[in-house]
Chain length 213, copies 2
């Protein structure tokens, strides 16, 4: 009971700031995506590919408990990257995003990608003011994750199944995962990619050109 | 600041219960291990192998946000398994363990394995009354996780590097990870295994026979 009450307090403080962020994003005409997935599922590699091929001006906010390693990788793609080192917190908050976007010229952007802390649980219910949540799964994690972490997949308009290049070496039923995603959220879009090999991104790029959510 | 205060409250409530659990474990002479790792890093598969080859009587407590899928897998190894479905909470608490061990005859056990919720952040600082924390890494997650999630690896007496069978297909510097583990905690024991293939477990079994921590 205690935990639920504490979480509600954190969320009720977060929500007004998320709404302020959302208004700023809308006013500037920037489409904002909040990427959520386990540590090592490939969020940064997906963003490296996406940033390089993005059909418009983009920037990336990168959350990590410790280090700015991921932000450095994005910067090497010549895309503006803004690290947030949470110093222990297990998810980004709307206030962290508000503090970061104060340093950005949102009017210059078409897309803003937010890479959340590597965690399939805590970031799921925390609104940052984004347009959509993007769930990132990866083949070697196993194919039951949608059922085990339902709070996220009820909220994700887009899901990546990443590391498809490892399908020959890992037991993984792609169709079952897609079905689990659709059961959680019938309008979900699922993209099967290998970010490391840069394959399968066509439908994602098409989606970015005209996000129909 | 708010978050830190809330976490401290949760921890100060948790600690006395953890100490009570620890006393019960010591009185019964059971060695208790708290396994922590990302979703899909292979905690359950490591426990399936370990339970089958354990040099003594063992039981497993399995935490998951949702479903008892992992506990069912352990039960199929003919080992007693006790699922804890946290219903949203991102880590196990000492109270959840206290409630579960009330149903166990600890005197009959030599080893108790606790599989925490799949999460590299939140379970790190929450004492359950265990003898040791066991961190589980996996090759396809990438080799920078020890540096990105330091709170866990400062506290782990044992670390697994799992899915070694995928080393030919994933860039991963095993020696660098071992060095990062030792930097975080010089007395750490690192075991490189493939749980899916059941290889590399010799040193772990030796450790279980005589846990020198």
């Amino acid at each position: 009971m205690t935990r639920i009450k504490l979480n509600r307090t954190a969320q009720s403080r977060n929500q007004p700031v998320a709404e302020q962020n959302r208004t700023k994003f809308q006013d500037a005409g920037v489409f904002v995506m909040n990427l959520i997935g386990s540590p090592g599922c490939g969020k940064t590699t997906i963003l490296e590919y996406t940033a390089r091929h993005c059909p418009g001006q983009s920037a990336v906010i990168v959350g990590d408990v410790k280090t700015a390693l991921d932000a450095d990788r994005i910067l090497q793609c010549d895309i503006p990257a803004y690290p947030i080192e949470t110093g222990g917190s297990c998810h980004l908050s709307a206030q962290m995003i508000a503090d970061t976007i104060a340093r950005l010229d949102l009017d210059q952007l078409d897309y803003l990608f937010i890479e959340n802390v590597g965690n399939l649980v805590c970031p799921s219910t925390m609104d940052l003011g984004e347009n959509i949540k993007v769930g990132v799964l990866s083949v070697p994690e196993g194919d039951e994750k949608v059922r085990k972490y339902p709070a996220l997949f009820l909220r994700t308009e887009v899901v990546f199944i990443n590391k498809a290049d490892l399908l020959p070496y890992c037991p993984y039923d792609v169709e079952r995962v897609k079905e689990d995603c659709r059961k959680a959220r019938p309008d979900v879009k699922v993209f099967e990619v290998s970010a490391a090999q840069g394959t399968g991104f066509g439908p994602w790029m098409e989606f970015l050109r005209q996000p129909d959510v």
